[in-house]
Amino acid sequence: MTLLDEYDALPHARDLGLLELGGITKTFPSRRGVKRLVVSAVDNVSLSVPSGSTTGIVGESGCGKSTLARVVVGLHPADSGRINFDGAALPIRGKRPRKVIEQMQMVFQDPYSALNPRATIGESIAFPLRVQGVARSEIKDRVAKVLVDVGLHGNYATHYPHQLSGGQRQRVNIARALALQPKLIVLDEAVSALDKSIQAQILNLLKDLQQSYGLTYLFISHDLNVVEYMSDQVAVMYLGQVVESCSAERLYTQPMHPYTQVLLASIPKLDPRERSTGGVALTGEMPSPLNPPSGCRFRTRCPYAMDTCAEVAPPLVAAADGHLVACHLHSLNDPDRTAGLAGKRAAAAAAAAAIAAAVVADGALHDAVVTHAHAVPGEHAPGVPAEVDLRTPPTVNPSQGA
């Protein structure tokens, strides 16, 4: 009986979250000369996404965030692991049931390449509806409704993507994901390609839609501020593995994993007096996923690395209530086992405290900015933020032009 089977046998396993990932592993074959190599993109990732909340996944470029997103929605088959969605197990590869396809949608990173340049906005949004066999008369209504819900005038349905701005296109992408009335939306770097000011509008739109549609988000980003603003709980990924996961509030005030601590210390501070404080800078590049380090994958860059770290991979265990962390600093409880562990623990705790203080100090300022950004649209109706002035129907007319 494997650990996974034991997990499934737990009585509460069924009503944990809308989406449950268990031990998801995804590798890609690769070649260097005649050698056949394996890229370990996602390694043994387990994650629970509670219904109606936002789960953030954060990590550097190349840590497997996007691969994980694609495995979740079924664009990539997983090598092994379990995916449970809405209480039912999904096949990790191959075709999914129609109901699941409808209930799980994705918003892509690049608003420019995510829309078919040859199709009107209306066609793009209608495509999934048509594929799923929604009646023609109903398609029109639903396209118009989601367009208005994402804050675009219904006339945009007749426009082509090149006539829209980046922010408007991302609204269209969100509208397309909404059209099938999903339960879960995977947002893969959904705002990373946008200007800061547009980011705030899109994030607030997403929050409004979550309320009105009762959506669950899996929010993937490399931007720590954005993840903090959006997420209820956060998982930190490093080189294909989850190294820490807990509530967003706890993660940003009491980070336990050295990697998380370094990440948080790297957030640029708004207040110049705060700039030099808060921990160690990360040295070196992320190791290649072709040949990940033995034991703990972070040990090559970890300021607290010990002998054990090269030998034993630290399991993801609960270090505090609801706070999972994969680090020997927090999982080895035998003080005699490794010399100097206590000292290192103390150093790590001190670093965490420094970061926490910096985050709190910075947080006040940060909150003020975010609140301000949120307040810009004024008393907007849910789903109708003020990026586009709705009073003016879109001026670009496809029948005029060059």
Binding site: L75, F108, N116, P117, R118, A119, P128, V143, V148, N173
Partner: protein, 315 residues
């Protein structure tokens, strides 16, 4: 007496606009989600392109002239009068002059158009359709199937075009039908290559992944998402093949594998009369002029088509 009321423009009173109003405003336009609108839009934009319409008109005129040749001339294209050999242009009764056997050139051009236009268009169209299917499918599914298809294409591609055409023509026997088959086979690999590379690029775009998420099968994805995005590149390439096709067909005729004498065919006529170029130069170049006009008109028409398939070109 009727009261004329001006409709209030949308949005004078934004706060009063409801979702239903937006929906109504949009429904009033009654376009957008119609799947056929891509081709309807393309036609509409094409008709606004003067050069394209002109080129298309020229092509249609030539086709009509070839089809209705018996109504336009009383001469027999196959029977000549030995006394009237190599008369110049605009000579008595022979507007385009006569060839080296005294046959009326105007009649031969008209009747020859039937063969030449067929030899120019049919291989191009056949190769475009077949090559597009093979290439886009290979670029879309990739893997073993895609590689297998493309390596098969590469094998054909390795031979020089004219040599391959000669080989096919020789094994099938002489005749215009076999020339058309041979030229079609010659043109499929390059079209498939262009289609494959275009399809490969497009299938990596995020909108293809988004479309896959909708649960659509591969054929639907290929037809509705991929094809409109690769067609213009293929059309640009294929349109250039019309002229080449005529020339290959002419070369095969010259080598005795294409249309057989005395059947008039523009390329064959050009070749057969090249010895007489110092006697009646204007007469000799007439078939060449027609080959040129067809090529240019076809290129212009396909350029216009490509532009009108591009939604960004406005219009």
């Amino acid at each position: 007496m009727t009261t004329i009321t001006t409709a209030t423009p949308l949005g004078n009173d934004l706060p009063l606009l409801t979702v239903e109003d937006h929906r109504a405003a949009w429904a009033a336009q009654d376009v957008g989600v119609d799947a056929k609108s891509f081709w309807a839009e393309t036609t509409r934009r094409f008709l606004r392109n003067r050069m394209g319409v002109f080129a298309l008109a020229v092509l249609l005129l030539l086709v009509a002239a070839a089809v209705f040749a018996p109504l336009l001339t009383s001469y027999d294209p196959l029977v000549g009068n030995a006394q009237d050999r190599l008369k110049g242009v605009f000579s008595d009764g022979h507007i385009f002059g006569t060839d080296e056997q005294g046959r009326d050139m105007f009649a031969r051009i008209l009747y020859g158009g039937r063969l030449s236009l067929l030899a120019a268009f049919v291989p191009t169209v056949v190769a475009t359709v077949v090559g597009t299917l093979i290439g886009t499918w290979a670029g879309f599914v990739r893997g073993v199937v895609g590689n297998g298809l493309m390596r098969a294409m590469d094998m054909l591609y390795a031979f020089p075009a004219i040599l391959l055409a000669i080989a096919v023509g020789a094994s099938l026997g002489p005749g215009l039908k076999n020339t058309i088959i041979a030229v079609s086979i010659v043109f499929i690999p390059p079209v498939a290559r262009v289609a494959e590379s275009a399809a490969r690029t497009v299938s990596m775009q995020e909108y293809m992944e988004a479309a896959r998420l909708s649960g659509a099968n591969r054929w639907t994805l290929l037809r509705t998402q991929l094809l409109p995005n690769v067609l213009n590149q293929i059309i640009v390439y294929s349109s250039g093949l019309v002229g080449v096709s005529m020339i290959i067909a002419a070369s095969l005729s010259f080598l005795g594998l294409g249309s057989q004498p005395p059947a008039p065919e523009w390329g064959y006529m050009l070749n057969a009369m090249r010895g007489s170029i110092y006697v009646a130069p204007l007469v000799v170049v007439i078939p060449g002029i027609f080959i040129f006009v067809v090529s240019v008109a076809f290129n212009m028409a396909s350029d216009a088509l490509r532009e009108s398939m591009d939604s960004r070109s406005g219009g």
